[in-house]
């Protein structure tokens, strides 16, 4: 187990390096440079650009330095080395701010969770909690009352939730809640009010809710057909004990293990929802960076998100090992 874990963790390094390499290469295909200004503003003159390039090491070769000295003294490897030390470089558009400051630095005197990333993290956690609290009981009930109208309703809702993308759902909800019923303000300004979080969190978590419902139901159905359930019944255990002690314990293993990736997916996948609701998270910052062509910001955020996803996928494998002793890692 330990060697397996170690190998999995070590394997993350080349994977993340490649993600960085792909992103880096693609970003350098894009037109425009870090010192470009809006076309209607005064441009940075050539001499200053050169000085700035030298200061930030952008005059070096892209991948390998063949001009003698250290071959790894190139833009890419310096970027990676800095990124490991937590420095994602200056934003191309927000002058004087580094990418990591934009993402992780809260406003003065506020705790970490008031940073851009903190906001997205809280929204993701809230969405996951809502999805699990609604999805797990619904899935269990659907399995216990299999082939009843209840089961069909749960399946129908989960099919819609799995297939209809969240931003389309958001459009419907905004139009109904804000446009027709006037319950919700379209663009919230005040996110200190917990009620303001509910609609984005519900929309964001709906797909996950549908997925959890389906997974719980299928997993329950599988467990219900197992021999040990029959044994439990045969020795005269009551229905409730069988359900809680024998079925749920086993049926919820797959549900628990997807929580990590689900959370990572919700945090990294919330950018459209954040943009639609004007939510001040890292996702909306990312969309702004796309439209501003803020390449260093796009690259830094992508890397952070990739790290999150790789770690989340790792937790699945680890959790399986601990929760289900039947699965032995070779």
């Amino acid at each position: 187990m330990t060697t397996y874990l170690l190998r999995r963790i070590l394997w993350m390094i080349p994977v993340l390096l490649l993600v960085a390499l792909i992103t880096f290469t693609l970003m350098h295909q894009a037109p425009g440079g870090p010192w470009d200004r809006d076309l209607n503003r005064r441009q940075v003159d050539a001499a200053t650009q050169e000085a700035l390039n030298r200061k930030f090491g952008l005059d070096k070769p892209l991948f390998f330095n063949f001009e003698g000295g250290n071959p790894f003294d190139s833009q890419f490897f310096n970027y990676v080395a800095n990124a490991i030390q937590g420095d994602l470089g200056p934003s191309y558009r927000q002058r004087g701010r580094d990418v990591q400051d934009i993402l992780f630095e809260p406003p003065k005197g506020k705790p970490f969770w008031d940073s851009r990333f903190g906001y997205s993290m809280r929204l993701g956690v809230l969405a996951l909690i809502l999805a699990a609290v609604a999805g797990i009981p619904l899935g269990i009930l659907a399995a216990l009352k299999r082939n009843t109208i209840f089961d069909y309703a749960a399946l129908f809702v989960s099919t819609i939730g799995i297939s209809v993308p969240s931003f389309v759902l958001a459009i419907f909800l905004i139009i109904v809640l804000a446009g027709q019923l006037n319950i919700l303000k379209i663009i919230q300004r005040d996110w200190s009010n917990p009620a303001a979080w509910s609609v984005p969190a519900i929309v964001l978590g709906f797909g996950t809710f549908a997925y959890i419902t389906r997974l719980t139901r299928n997993s329950m159905l599988e467990v219900m057909g197992q021999d040990y359930i029959r044994t439990a019944r045969a020795k005269g255990l009551g229905g409730r004990v069988i359900i809680t002690r024998h079925m749920l314990r086993n049926a919820l293993i797959p549900v628990m293990t997807i929580m990590g990736p689900a959370l990572a997916g919700l945090i990294t996948g919330s950018f459209i929802i954040e943009t639609m609701f004007g939510f001040p998270g890292s996702g909306r910052e990312y969309v702004t960076a796309i439209s501003n062509r803020d390449y260093s910001m796009i690259m830094g955020t992508t890397l952070i998100y990739a790290v999150l996803i790789v770690l989340a996928n790792l937790t699945v494998d680890i959790m399986y090992g601990f929760l289900d002793p039947r699965i032995k890692v070779k």
Binding site: Y4, R7, R8, W11, M12, V15, L16, L18, V19, I22, T23, L26, M27, H28, Q29, A30, P31, L155, T159, I160, I162, S163, V164, P165, F167, V168, I171, F172, I174, I175, A178, G179, I186, R217, N218, L221, T268, G269, I272, M276, V287, I290, S291, R293, I298, T302, Y305, A306, I309, V310, N313, D317, Y320, I327, K328, V329, K330
Partner: protein
């Protein structure tokens, strides 16, 4: 032992109870069961599919949208690019706006957008992009994924190793972020402008999604090549090519078809999201173009009017939801029909 085989080991293939269709019949009916004309697996699957109402409804909706996409230039009541000045923000024909006093007219069934362009015609033309984005990358994905999956599963070795390493990278990269990066970075290049930017989207979609298909086919091959009928075929001297194409591929087709049915809506959603971010299809100004607007771009254009003129946004949103839902119903139906053992 590589990491990949370990990942495989964690999801043990559960022996599925093999349901024998004749077992359900009573002994008296047995002669009838034996005397009926032999039916192929595909006929069986087809008749099971026909009994699934949701799947058939989905298929009809998909066929309808394909028809709309092909004959868009005949079906659209207006030129989707025509600016009807003074007729901007008209509501759909059955709506009477109380605030502005504007009433919908039968001339513009689903209303007009801010520039007075006919929403219905634009939705009709948008179907084209969605259908093409759904089907073309999926075809590429299936061809590449199936060939590499077959080779990797059957021969193993370097291809297999490479496939597994590539999978790790693709799984680590959030796909949507990859699409966004590709579309932003290469948008201004020649490839990015080819086919109004659709070509680049095809490539990006194919690059990410072939891995899933290859993994799926590889798993199938690994399971099938140990089966007795393959062994028997080898024993009578079949060549490897013959075993691959006569035995393993036909037996994997069901899984491949189901995977296709779920890849298509995924691609359509991706296009809509990218369009909404302004990274999808490049809006065309030439009315003779095949691809003029997409549902994603329409969502972006309608976004600012979400409060007061929701119909601009509602029409493409409903279209996306309807098409995606239909593909999912069809996919579920196909899975149940092609592999009844997997029925939930």
């Amino acid at each position: 032992m590589t990491t990949s085989t370990q990942t495989q080991a964690q999801t043990p293939v559960k022996p599925q109870p093999q349901t024998d269709p004749s077992a359900a019949t009573t002994p008296g009916d047995l002669s009838a069961a034996f005397n009926r004309a032999p039916r192929s697996l595909w006929r069986d699957a087809w008749s099971r599919l026909l009994r699934n109402k949701a799947a058939i409804a989905g298929a009809i909706v998909i066929l309808f949208f394909m028809f709309v996409a092909i004959f868009a230039h005949h079906l659209a009541p207006h030129n989707p690019l025509e600016l009807n000045s003074g007729k901007g923000f008209l509501p759909p024909m059955w709506v009477q706006e109380s605030s502005t006093g504007k009433a919908g007219s039968p001339e513009f069934v689903l209303g007009t957008d801010n520039l007075g362009r006919d929403v219905l015609s634009r939705v009709i033309y948008g179907a084209r992009v969605s259908m093409v984005v759904g089907f073309i990358p999926t075809l590429i994905i299936v061809v590449v994924g199936v060939s590499l999956g077959l080779i990797s599963g059957y021969w193993g070795g370097a291809t297999d190793n490479l496939l597994m390493r590539f999978t790790d990278i693709v799984y680590a990269f959030p796909d949507l972020l990859f699409f966004i990066i590709v579309m932003t970075a290469l948008r201004a290049t020649a490839i990015g402008q080819f086919l109004n930017g659709l070509f680049l989207l095809f490539v990006a979609l194919a690059l990410v999604n072939w891995v899933g298909v290859a993994r799926l086919v590889r798993g199938q091959v690994l399971a099938l090549k140990e089966r007795d009928f393959v062994l028997a075929s080898r024993a009578v001297g079949s060549t490897h090519t013959r075993i691959m194409f006569r035995h393993i591929l036909p037996n994997s087709l069901g899984v491949i078809i189901v995977a296709m049915a779920f890849l298509i809506p995924g691609a359509i959603i991706t296009e809509a999201i990218l369009g909404y971010l302004g990274l999808g299809l490049r809006p065309s100004t030439d009315p003779n173009d095949i691809f003029i607007t997409s549902w994603g771009s329409m969502l972006l254009e309608g976004q600012t009017a979400i409060n007061n003129q929701p119909w601009i946004l509602l029409a493409p949103a409903i279209a996306v939801a309807l098409v995606v839902l239909s593909f999912n119903f069809l996919g579920d139906g196909l899975r149940d029909a092609l592999d009844p053992r997997l029925r939930e």
